[in-house]
Symmetry: C2
Subunit: 606 residues, 2 copies
């Protein structure tokens, strides 16, 4: 294609693009498309065929076209076999009405316009838009590969985000503090692949398995993205026959959950785990995990917190004592787990109506799960007539007693609270379980003190998980804790933004500036000298930058010092050193420059 | 199921497992299965149906059963439509004969045994094995979920690996040094999701696009794992309308390549990129990238290295001057790129025979690509009659001249070599390109000095990539470098293992030990005291560990100090402090303990 023709085409595309944009603007200013009762088998098949190769009707993400179609359909049961339509329908129904209403505008694919046209339900405007879009696409097709037109929304995948310099800087500062605590306790670190053989994950997450991201079968192994760091850790131990290790692992995990990004819930998010594996004496590693949590939360200055603790064997014994059938232990346990969000009445209803528990059993449970306290509560329960008869309740209570005694030694008695309503969702816990909860938003904000603002760490003992991977089912007892770093990032981001603070995203110590033109090479020479002396140095990438622009950059970026070169300074063998904050300048001889800078930076950081 | 029945079943499974194992052993000691000319349509359909839901015939990874089947088939063209068989066939053919021969043993699925039986090609042994395996599976099925038997090989996905504590410690120390250099040059860091919308990656990697990992379509967006960090960086700039930034990004990327793990090539591997984006004056950021590479390689003490540089516009001009048609520039460029691995004769053959270049054009190129040197070579080429006529050659040479002048200022003249054979594979480079190559294996090994042992970093200018993402094709000029950290890890791992050195994987400073029984709580108290004073402290997780075992652990782990408690010490209010290396012990009063430890650690680290 010659340049003339190309330019003409590009011009035409621009004009046609404008036509489409205007039509779409008109459309979104009107009410959304009125289309009702699309139900003929033929139409459903057209839709189904379309969805066989497309995720959504209006592009690669859901749009108002999907919502409009949803309203136009009668919904299941379908009169014929339309698996792709069904998949799309269920997916769309997983959004709330509010979410569906808020979807962005888009245009119905030409193939589907006809479908509405025969039903006389399509608005003229929609049809017109589709027509003009087709024209636009035809024009673009003529242009071919010469300029690749923007065909997709420029975005990160649903439920994910980029971390910009500010966010990575905050994240690094948080993780550094956390890692310092892990290291203070002698932990090593390991790393595992981001994906695992699908079978490694199978059967580990119960109902949540549907949230696992699978990789496409491209001929080879069947793979899935890791869902947490615990299962890969257990796989690592079994595979390498490691029987004791204390390790931390900070990495991203993946869950195809409905993201609530405003609440800091993402599909790709960091987990930060600390685990102690090995056959040791009761509760010694367990209590160290809680000590680690406590040191981390203090070091991050997140404010007051409480660590609720309970024991899985005590829970089982309590269920037994209350007359819960053994096969209902796990499902009743997961009902108890909801007590942090639901009232006892609601949880009781779930137990009785959904899970078929006898009313008297539920009420008996209700007597226990309202209890919380310290070591005196353990003693009280050890004398409880009902619990006394359940062996595992006694085992759990004795363990809890040792645990709370150790807590006193580690100075955790003020934070730790024995709480019989704590259950933790995961199936694989076998002993102590705990969860750290922040109280109030701000350390200084006394009014909200004592209000639980959310779980910030949690964990427990899981003695049987490694055995699931070992060919001979050889177990390695483990206890660990997961720090809710995403929540911590959110809390600190909110705090910074409330205080209108910015974090420095670089560590530049000195900026090499020039006061006149044609000093690029002199600036470069000085940069080299300072880099060689291990200073963090920047200079403008322009040949002749303006002095004011250079100094402004220093002030905005929080760079403490500027070294300013001018011809007179060069002649006299000196450099003008400027304290950026105070704007004071002094002349320093070249041969003492490095020492002078070192001293000034030393004073600043001290 | 009651315990008795369960135990009996487990016993039966063990016995039956033994039967299967013995049969398989017999089989693998014999020749591999003799089966020939399986070609009836019916048989092919059976195979095709099986492969519709399975990646391989013998499990989740290729086995000798796949190789045997491959031999038994006549191969394409197939007499009927068998897409799954075809997919499997192509995949199996992608292995070399040697690889196929080396595949592990496994057993043919029962469904496929019949297929061979009707052909009378199946060995009795295979059939017997399948029978016994079926019995085994039936037994296991009876056992149900009570004990989940190990059904899969315990491994990480093909081409991936775990990093153990030793490897992560080495990796961290390398990355710390690299990051220190990036920070010395004022870089920020960002992070992007591990997957991108598939369209973001489409059309960026040419032929290599087939190596992209796709995620399964689970109803939603179509996603792929990132293939490098450059394309996500460009997408990030366009999406956030960022016109200038200097950032580094260290993260894992994914390529479904045939892994050569012995050579340190993996399917999941780290990339470590430093890029400067923004509209600046020529060559100033470009030369800083090379300076960064040079500082990094020095800081890692990897030995001597050379940085080859060239310019894409000079290459284009050279091709033009040599009579290469414009539409062949890129393919001839990728042929030149092979000169680091192939001889000129081989590359010339590829140009002429495969890519249809005229012999005289190829020979003309041959005259140039053997040239390398410094600034004097630029001057020589600026006077070259042929090149003079090609405008972009002159532009490239002028740019190269400035670049080499700046190299002198940054003290890079000894490492940087202008080399006309350097082409770099990627299509998106538009200006300067460079590649750092290690010379010799060991700094002290003079015999191998000067031998190129491999590329360790590379990069260049890419001014048009961001525009591919911007709706209005607005470009942001970029130049960057990628540090080959995986290669660096391999080199350093090999060096450590040759010197039989181990890196410490923890930073524990003091171990709290006990000399007698029943001192657990005293040890815990001392740990708390030392943690509170910010020391890195460990103690045994056993109630009553043996003193010798505790001291041995200190020596093996390289912990510098041990604090030893005994009843007599407790009574007298002292602690026995042991220097682990010298084995010298002194008694220290409790009230000066922290100061004493601080002093001793200070002396040790100094």
């Amino acid at each position: 294609m010659n340049e003339d023709k190309k330019e003409k085409l590009i011009e035409l595309i621009k004009v046609q693009g404008e036509v489409v944009r205007k039509l779409k603007a008109t459309q979104s200013s009107k009410e959304k498309v009125k289309t009702k009762h699309l139900g003929r088998e033929k139409d459903l098949h057209v839709l189904n065929d379309y969805l066989a190769n497309a995720s959504y009707l209006g592009g690669y993400s859901p749009t108002h076209v999907d919502s409009a179609m949803l309203e136009a359909l009668n919904g299941p049961p379908w009169p014929c076999n339309v698996p792709h339509l069904e998949r799309w329908y269920h997916h769309m129904m997983s959004f709330s009405v509010a979410e569906r209403t808020a979807l962005p505008a888009s245009v119905l694919p030409t193939r589907l316009v006809a479908l509405f046209a025969t039903n006389n339900h399509i608005s003229d405007l929609e049809e017109k838009i589709a027509e003009e879009v087709k024209k636009l696409l035809d024009l673009k097709a003529q242009l071919g590969d010469e300029v690749v037109p923007q065909k997709f929304t420029l975005k990160t995948p649903k439920g994910t985000r980029d971390y910009g310099p500010q966010q990575t800087a905050l994240r690094s500062s948080v993780l550094e503090k956390i890692i310092a605590v892990f290291k203070r306790h002698g932990a090593e670190t390991i790393d595992t692949p981001v994906f695992e053989l699908k079978e490694v994950l199978t059967g580990k997450y119960g109902e949540d398995s549907k949230l696992i991201y699978d990789l496409a079968d491209q001929g080879g192994e069947i793979l899935s993205l890791r869902y947490d760091l615990t299962v890969p850790f257990a796989r690592y131990l079994a595979m390498n026959k490691i029987t004791n290790i204390k390790r931390y692992h900070i990495a991203k995990v993946y869950r195809r959950d409905n993201p609530a990004m405003t609440k800091g819930r993402y599909r790709e998010f960091f987990q930060c785990d600390f685990d102690i594996a090995g056959q040791y004496d009761p509760m010694i590693p367990d209590v160290e995990c809680v000590r680690v949590v406590s040191e981390i939360l203090r070091s991050l200055q997140l404010g007051e917190f409480v660590v609720k603790v309970n024991h899985r064997q005590l829970l089982d014994g309590m269920f037994e004592a209350c007359g819960v059938p053994a096969d209902k232990f796990r499902s009743i346990c997961s009902a108890v787990d909801k007590l942090d969000k639901l009232s006892w009445e609601e949880v009781r209803k779930e137990m009785v109506e959904e899970k078929g528990l006898a009313v008297c059993a539920a009420d008996a449970i209700g007597q226990y799960v309202c209890l919380s306290g310290g070591i005196e509560l353990v003693d009280q329960l050890l004398n409880d007539e009902k619990l006394k008869k359940a062996k595992s309740a006694c085992v759990g209570l004795e363990a809890m007693k040792i645990f709370l005694q150790y807590c006193n030694i580690y100075d955790l008695q003020k934070q730790v609270k024995f709480d019989l309503s704590l259950a933790r969702g995961l199936d694989y816990y076998t002993g102590i379980i705990y969860e750290a909860i922040l109280l109030g938003e701000e350390p200084g904000d006394n009014s909200s003190e004592g209000i639980e603002v959310g779980s910030i760490a949690g964990g427990g003992r899981y003695d049987n998980l490694v055995g699931m991977f070992d060919p001979r089912h050889k177990n390695v007892p483990c206890v660990g804790v997961s720090i809710g770093v995403e929540r911590i990032f959110s809390v600190l981001e909110a705090r910074l933004s409330a205080q209108k603070l910015k974090i420095r995203t670089t560590e530049v110590e000195i900026f090499v500036a020039s006061a006149q033109k044609n000093l690029l090479e002199e600036r470069m020479k000085l940069c080299k000298l300072l880099w060689d002396a291990d200073f963090k140095v920047e200079s403008s990438y322009k040949r002749n930058p303006k002095l004011l622009a250079q100094l402004q950059y220093c002030e905005e970026s929080g760079i403490p010092l500027a070294a300013i070169l001018g011809e007179s300074e060069l002649e006299r063998g000196v450099v003008k050193l400027r304290d950026v904050e105070s704007r004071q300048e002094v002349e320093v001889a070249r041969d003492v420059l490095i020492n002078e800078i070192r001293q000034r930076l030393g004073t600043k950081s001290a």
